[in-house]
Every structure is written in structure tokens, then in C-alpha cells.
Amino acid sequence: MSIFEVRHQRWAQVILQSAIGGDRIPHAYLFHGPDGIGKETLARAYAQLLLCEKPVCHNECSSEYAPDGKQWFDSCGLCSSCRLMETDSHPDYHLIHRRLIRFHDDPSVRARKGLDLGIDVIRQFVLDAAHKKPALGSRKVFVLRETEKLTSAAQNALLKTLEEPPPGTFLILICRALDSLLPTTRSRCRSIPFSPLPISFVHETLQGRHSDINADLIRFAAALGEGSLGRSVQCLENGLNEINRNVITPLKDLSVLSALEWAHLLEDQADQLAHRSRLGDEEINETDAVRQALTQILTLVATFYDDVLKLTHGQQERCCNTADLEIVRQAGSRMKHDWIPRSIGWTVQAEAQIHLNANTTLCLENLAMRLAHLYAPSR
């Protein structure tokens, strides 16, 4: 694929292009940013460019990546190397992920669960492979997915290769947040930040891909993704809109009496969502799946109160829950306006507490009780 097919990541493209055009290409990159915004897609396109036999040089390209006097490089898409990349069979392109543990030579390693990206996978699939000469050209590229899941031992094993890889070896580490890696790993890579995509772009892309889905749903998914195409797609696939309706309907009037019931509903919905995501990825452990599901559900809650806030300030067109505006309006009419921002703060706080291993039920009940106090008592 052409490197310019990756959209709205101008900053990353500029850094990569100036490296390609320069004398020395950094041998280790760290692409960081939220999920689903094109980090891996760009890593793959960049790998194709590095491996391409006859890279082409554009003086003009799409307006988004206007050259401003610079030359922009792209893979040719025609040479044998590019064709191998298209069919996903290039011998010098190595995609490393935690599921490779299933293909490890050692049966005792294969028997383990690939919950993190461990040292065995790194040794066999990165270090051993990096110390072989490239099969086709003079370069080989390793793209490491989900490096926030790298264990410390694996990172330490990688250090030497990251600092001084064998000739012609390039490594691209993809991670969600920089601080999930050891400082020693970070300092050996050129880090490139990726920013969320414009919501309008996500919306257009979803519309293009799912012309059969109704417009409200697509708007909701695009808005909820907060600029992450991947998350929006996941939202559509996991049926998050149904869960959203279940979660927010009681919020039109939360009383101290109904609060606990609502907290338990949240837990139920999180279990369901976790179950769905575990069906798609059996390597994920139960705690992680439930936590991820709770994060998604608390995001729905925060988004709901965000909509309440927007609606009370007359910004109806910027709301996410366009299909359920009536619920938002009812909640807005029952809450004291100055207090609405607190609800968002408390929701975020609850999410953080859950990630810090607090008791989930207590956290959710606490949140529900606090939220209930924001509603005016019904007469």
C-alpha cells in the first residue's frame, strides 16, 4: 500500500519522510498513541517503503501531504518486494505479536497463554531472526505490535538489538502509551506521537464501509471512538449501542433507591461485553477483559453526562447520543446544572480506581450513590 493511504498523521509522515530523504535512517522507531488511529498501518506502509526495490519520489502528492518544497518518498507498488508485501508473504517483513507464542519451537512455551509479549517470543522471532541476513534485499523490518505488553525481561533482552541492530535491520515498536515501556527502551527509539483522527473522517470512513447501518448508529460510533477508527469499528461490532441504551436509560432519573440496582446493571453489562471480546481473542485473560469492558461502559456513562452538559448549554448538535436525546433531556431537567461536571469527574475517578485493583462492585456502587445525589429528589 502507498504510504499516503494513511490519513491525518501528517506529523508522523513528516518525520518519517525526512528520515528517508536524509543520510541516516533511525533503526528503531516507537509509534505511540491511542488504538485504532493508523500506527500499525503506517508501520506496515513504511516497512514496504524501506523494503521497496525502487522507491518513487514525488514532488507533488495529495493536498494533505503537500510537499512544501520537500520530496516525498513512496513505495513503487510494482517491484517484486512490494508485490510480496501485498500478499503478506515478504520474507524480510516480520510482524511480532503475542500470539506468536503458539508457534514457538519449545512445546512448554507453546502451552503457556500469550497474555503478554514475553521473552521467549522476542528471542525466537526477533533476536534470532534479526541475526540472520535478509532473504531478498539488504534490509529487514520488524514491527512489534502491542509493546505495552512487553515484559521487563523481554525489554531487557531487546535493549542490545534496539541500540545496535545488525546491519540493515529496522524495528518499529507500536504502543499505546509511552510510559508503559521502560525508560531504557524508550531512550533507544525515535518516538513518534500519533494523534486521534478527525471525527468527521472516522464518520465518513464508517459510512463508506457500512452503508447498510443506520446513520444514528454510525454517528454514535464515530463520536464514541473519540478519533479512533479502530474503537469506532469495535463499537459497531460489539453492539455497544444496545449496551449504551441499557446503561443510560435508568440515568434519566437516578434515585438513591435505584442507584444500587443501576450499579449491578453496569457489572452485568460489563460481563457480557467481556464475554464477547473474549470470544474474539482467547489470549486475553478474564480480569483484563472485564476491566476493558468496564472502561468502555464507564466511557458510555461519562459520554452521557457530557451530552447532558452540552444539551443544557444548547449545544445539541455536538451530542453523541442523538438517538436518545429525550433521555439526555430528562436527566438535564432533573440535575442541578452546576453539578453536572462532577458526574464526569467521578466516573473517570471510578475508572482509575478499577484499574488500580479496587473492588469493582464497591467502586460502581459508590459512583452510583454519588451520582444519585446530583438528581433533585422527586416529589
Binding site: L84, T87, S89, R102, K132, K133
Partner: protein, 369 residues
Amino acid sequence: MKLQISPQALVDGLNLASGASAGRTPKEALQCVLMKASDKALLLMATDLEVGVRCQLAQVDIQKGGEALVSAAKISQVARELTDEVVSLELRENQLHLRGRGVHFQMVSRDPKEFPPVPDLEGEPDFEIEARELRRMAERTAFAAARESTRYAIDGLLWERKGDQLMIVATDGRRLAVASCSVTPKGGASTQKDARVIVPAKTMQLISRVVESSEERLGVKFLPNQLLLKTEHVTISSVLVEGHFPKYEDVVPQDCDKRATVRVQDMHHAVRRAALMTSEESKGVRLCFSAGKLVLSSRSAEQGEASIELDVRYEGETLDIGFNPSFLSDFLKVLEEEEVTFELKEPNRPMVCHCGENYTYVVMPVNLS
């Protein structure tokens, strides 16, 4: 693709080719064998991206050319079960139909484009070597290569070509094996007389397997990234290991002043017996050389002691030296010769073993005190 072939020829070809196909891989195409029928022959190709095999089958009646990519394990199993003299293979709409008398197998063929290229030896090879000789050298060195060392270069075997000599060298830091033989230079070498490449241990195993029965000569070509070997029908390609192989010449001591000659069979037997009385803690076997006599002794606190005496041609001062017995028996095991010569200097200096002119083995002693 449409052709007729004898199942036996197909099985033989698949056996050679599937040696290179990947056992476990996330890329399913690598578990397959690519069958390419052209006007003259059927070409089988398999690779795991580290080694590749191209095997040409000539005794085929090809009616229509084409390519099919099918699971290597499955088609081998199927071909082995066929009893007919001739079977027909036909590719129709991504299905490979294999028909014999009263038998019909239909196998899914993947898109041949998914299969990575398997290099062929083009033009003249650098030199030619007798297959038997290469196999012998591989056998005599491969055991000494390091396993899973972080010094990746010594996980492989060094192939060094000097004029009309080829040396294969393996070391794990505690022992070193050097085997050499003469080769016949060919046209491809005109630009580069001397060359060295490091070949992965896995390739050496594959070479041993492919040239097992072969009495022919192998053409060898060193490329910057590849090693290529070619017999009449089979081409093996291998990626090379990156890095610097230690200077092995410096490791072979030149100043040994004591020589002992011993019969290989007797020595191997004695080492095996002495090794019985060693344990995890005391792995060493003591070798005590004196005029006309060699005594091997071992001792372990939990098990007991052993002492084995054998005749040896040795002149010089008495010398006590310890070795890891498996390092000795690995070496003695591969020898076909009658006698082996040990050269020594001091108990803390390596021992050099010579067997014939073309094989040298150096082993470090262990401290027994």
C-alpha cells in the same frame, strides 16, 4: 495444470522438499509446497524463509502447465497411500484433483502468489564438491556448534573457502572442530577466490538429509545473503547468519610438545565407561598419560570411582589433564579412522586432536582440583 506421475517419484520429491517447509508458522503458505509444472518438468518448492528447497522431477508427463500450492504434509500423506503405477494431477478452480484407479482426492490449492520466492542457482557455481565429502564434513563439525548462544555467529557454522580448499568450522567456545576438503573451482568464482559465510545449523541438518543418498557432485555458490547448493535435480538455498565468526586459526595451539596416539575404538569405549562415574557436579574425567599407558579415571562423591587403562603410544613426561567426557565422545563418535593423535602441552592448555589431514578438533580441559 495437468500431468501424470508415478506416486513413488512424487513421494521422493515431496520428502526432499517438505524437509524445508515450516512446521509451525503463522503464515500458512509456508506449510505448503508449491508445485509448478512447466513444459519439461515438475518443480516442487518449499521454504520456511530460512532454508528453501527446489526439487525437479523429470519423469512426468505434463499435459498442461500451471501452479498449485497445497499443504505439504497432506499431499505427502496422500501420495504415500497410493498404490497405482501412475496417478494424474489436475488443477481446476483452486482444487487439485489427484486421481488413481478408483481413487479421487481433491485438495484445496491456495493462491500461489502467497508463496515467497525460493532462489535458484543461476549461472555457474563458485565451486563443486563431492556430496559424500560435504556430508562427512557436516557430520564432523555440526555437533560442536553452539546452541542458543547469544553470540549468534557461533550458533552457525563457518564455511571458508581458500583457493581450492573448503573449511567448515564450528565452535561453542569450549571446543572447536575444523574439517576441510578440496573442491573444484568453477567459473562463478572468478571474481572472488576466498570467501567466508556463516551457515545456520538447521541448514546443515537439511544438507545432510538431502545429500544422504547422493553420490553426485554439488555445485556451491556464495552470495552476499545466500548460500546455494545444487545437485542435478535439487537446489538448496539458505539465509546466512549475520556477525563475525571468531578467528579460529588463533585457537589451535601450535606449540604442543607431547603427542599421544591411540586407537579410536578403544578410546571411545574407555571414555564412555569412565563417564558412568561422573555426576552433574563432577563432570570431568581425568586422563593420565605416561609412557605407553593412558589411565582414565573419574570419581563422584555419591556414585563411586572408575579407572580404565589402555595402551597408547606416548613419550614424554607424565601428564594429568581433565576433560568433559561428552566433549570427547561427541568427537570420537564421528571418526571412521583407526587411530587418533592427541597433542598436548600442559594441564591448563587445550588439547588438539588430529585425525587424518583434514580434521582437527580442539577441546578445552576442565579443572579437576
